[in-house]
Symmetry: C2
Subunit: 437 residues, 2 copies
């Protein structure tokens, strides 16, 4: 066996070998200007001291004592060292905290599955925790036989599981006029992606028996906002389903426990939580949440109504304002892309504000109407960078620039902002939200 002494994997060998400065190292073959550690690098603890006794070949204390036993965590939780990875909200955004929103920490996440405990919340009257044995789903209106289902009834129908993203129509809404919040958690964090299990909506609709003139359904929630949305019958019979599980276990209370309507690819507000009633009708109901809200007011005073589909979009999650660059040299950029129409076909990345584009690497699986993870490998030598990503879907729809969106729709609305985001990296590695075009 080799007798060579292991050395820390670091460009700055002198510093690393002292064991006193534990550098976030550059890849050896990319070593260049080893100078200039700016404020982001310092803030990120690059110079943090680590006790020599903890490092190999020494045996650290946690390797010398028994750990936590199997009775202590019937239901697990993240490490105490990950306590900063949480949903966060913006105080000034809404008048009350019950009718408000918190945001998924996209910058801290990997893969395409969002942990259930980190899926953003948007409530209009807070989240109830409904006893499932007392919950009912009523189907009425233009049906042969109005019915009331218990949860046990619903769980006896043939189930299916699907992985879908869910995005709030107002995701990025604060950016529409250029708020430039500091972090993709706030600019893009009203999206998540989980594996749901439930029953096709058409199964329960057919059980009640749709009348010939049935053209719309109205979905109603059991929260005290009684959230209601009109949905055309074609979509209801296509890929909508009513879910009781997410990521393998029952829905979380704040995600609609015990029953939620899924409307794949369409705005999250239509995915009615705590689903208690479906009325079948021959025209839309024009309720509050599809008239005064969730329509897009244009510059000329007209409004785009029923803007259901979430258009193709992407965001670079790392680096981003909450994830500064910690060193120069080789970098792996991470991001997410999604399309409410179907599967993502490709993502391009620009380092110069959209003048030149290079293809990103898509990780598997690439699923229809689900988040898609992309990566881009590059080198940074301390120069200013204007980072952008641009996704397109299987139907050829390409994510637009803000300038294009504003030209088409004005700046009155806060919904359906799928514009290309720009992050500016400064010489210290800090990342800023800037509006370029």
């Amino acid at each position: 066996m080799s007798q060579k002494k292991p050395r820390p994997y670091a460009a700055d060998t002198k510093a690393a070998n002292t064991g006193l400065d534990i550098a976030v190292s550059r890849r050896r073959f990319l070593v260049g200007g080893a100078a200039a550690a700016g404020s982001a690098l310092a803030a990120a603890g690059v110079s943090a001291k680590v006790d020599l006794e903890l490092l190999p070949p020494n045996v650290p204390p946690w390797s010398q004592a028994l750990g936590v036993n199997v009775d202590q965590r019937p239901y697990g939780a993240p490490s105490k060292y990950e306590s900063g990875v949480v949903r966060r909200s913006v105080e000034w955004l809404t008048a009350t905290r019950e009718s408000s929103v918190n945001f998924t920490p996209l910058h801290e996440l990997d893969g395409i599955i969002t942990p259930s405990g980190l899926c953003f919340e948007r409530h209009h009257a807070g989240a109830p925790d409904i006893p499932p044995q007392a919950h009912r789903l009523m189907i009425n209106g233009l049906v042969a036989q109005p019915l009331i289902f218990s949860m046990a009834d619903i769980m006896r129908f043939p189930p299916q599981s699907r992985i879908y993203f869910l995005e709030c129509a107002a995701n990025g809404g604060m950016e529409w006029r250029g708020a430039q919040l500091s972090g993709c958690q706030y600019t893009h964090g009203m999206v998540h992606c989980v594996q749901y299990t439930g029953v096709p909506l058409k199964t329960v609709l057919n059980e009640a028996g749709l009348a010939n003139k049935a053209k719309w359904i109205l979905a109603e929630g059991a929260d005290s906002a009684a959230m209601t949305r009109s949905i055309p019958i074609d979509k209801a019979l296509d890929d909508c389903f009513i879910a009781y599980s997410m990521n393998g276990e029952r829905l979380r209370p704040e995600q609609g426990y015990p029953l939620r309507l899924l409307v794949p690819g369409w705005e999250g507000n239509m995915w009615v939580k705590w689903l208690r009633r479906i009325e079948v009708g021959d025209q839309p109901w024009y309720h509050r949440e599809e008239t005064s809200k969730y329509t897009d007011l244009l510059a000329d005073g007209r409004a785009r109504e029923f803007t259901w589909v979430m258009d193709t979009k992407s965001v670079i999650t790392d680096p981003s304002p909450q994830k500064p660059l910690l060193s120069r040299g080789f970098q792996v950029l991470k991001g997410l892309a999604w399309s409410g129409r179907g599967a993502i076909k490709g993502v391009d990345v620009s380092l110069d504000g959209g003048m030149n584009w290079k293809p990103a690497r898509l990780d598997s699986p690439v699923l229809t109407k689900a988040l898609t993870r992309f990566y881009f490998e590059w080198n940074w030598h301390g120069e200013n960078v204007l980072l952008q990503s641009r996704a397109w879907d299987e139907f050829g729809y390409v994510q637009p620039r803000y300038a294009d969106l504003h030209a088409a729709r004005g700046v009155n609305s806060i919904y359906h902002n799928n514009g290309i985001q720009t992050w500016e990296i400064d010489g210290a590695g800090e990342v800023h939200n800037v509006r370029l075009n």
Copy 2:
């Protein structure tokens, strides 16, 4: 709109319409003998009283009050009504609780993603919670340059995400001689399936530079058991990877935080948690966990060594001893299948102890070396049933009967039990673990 009054979706209309007995209803078109509610049905609360005021068209109290606001749960948790869905252990199984196991509640889960908080735990010295900034991975032995990586170093390599099952070699070990524990949580619950993110092992091995005569690696954990396993270099360079995230967020402490080795399709004991060292050598090390443990002692005193691959297996999770049948008539059976060699190709279900078989329905996605969800729709009229499932993979390997396994291997070993499980359903709907063949 229809003026018909909604009616409860129940076969026993008289009972349902009183609103006093909330039956777990049969599908209307399958109504037959409405008699005979046995002990399982009663125990499951079929006759539980629900307050009339909670039911439609009345508006329940949770629809009349504000719910929990978005500041209250930075990191979410399941509903209080799901408090029974937890990992559980068996007191008598091990001498200490630190070197022990708890089990995934498979009977309560849907889809193929196991929630991180419910993934079974198996430790040999308890689970440490290691500060990630002090954790190191050392690579030594037959390499050009021994190296020590920080977690920041590892996170700078190009990542990938994959969905894989992980099964303990001893899963079902207590059943090998016929313990017949009551519930698939205990008989099959040492398996889970998550989306991991990390770096291919070959990337870091190549960074250190493999010597020509490198044939094996030794993976070592930082727990106080210093778990070590030998792995052939071909597997190490094939699909092994070192993961820092599971289901989108960092690994849980009990699953190896901050770094775990993944050995897709191979026994879970090799997926070394809290990975601190990889030694490269030209022969296996024959450490404790691959000699006195994790080998299969045969009837003639010889042992099968290095039985790495987890053979094709399946289990019916509902109905099962913890999930009795609650009513007669139409039933949806749920189960899981997996193969350490690749993708599941099919699953058959028998109602008569293996005399006749019918194909189950596989749900998407069907991924290589991942759990696959299957369903089977059938009718139950109160007769005794001997339920079995039998999976096969893309290479034609068919899950064997216990009798076949015992004939080939005797009964000394507790490892690699992938025999066909039999559940007996009695006239009351209760489900029993029985050994048939």
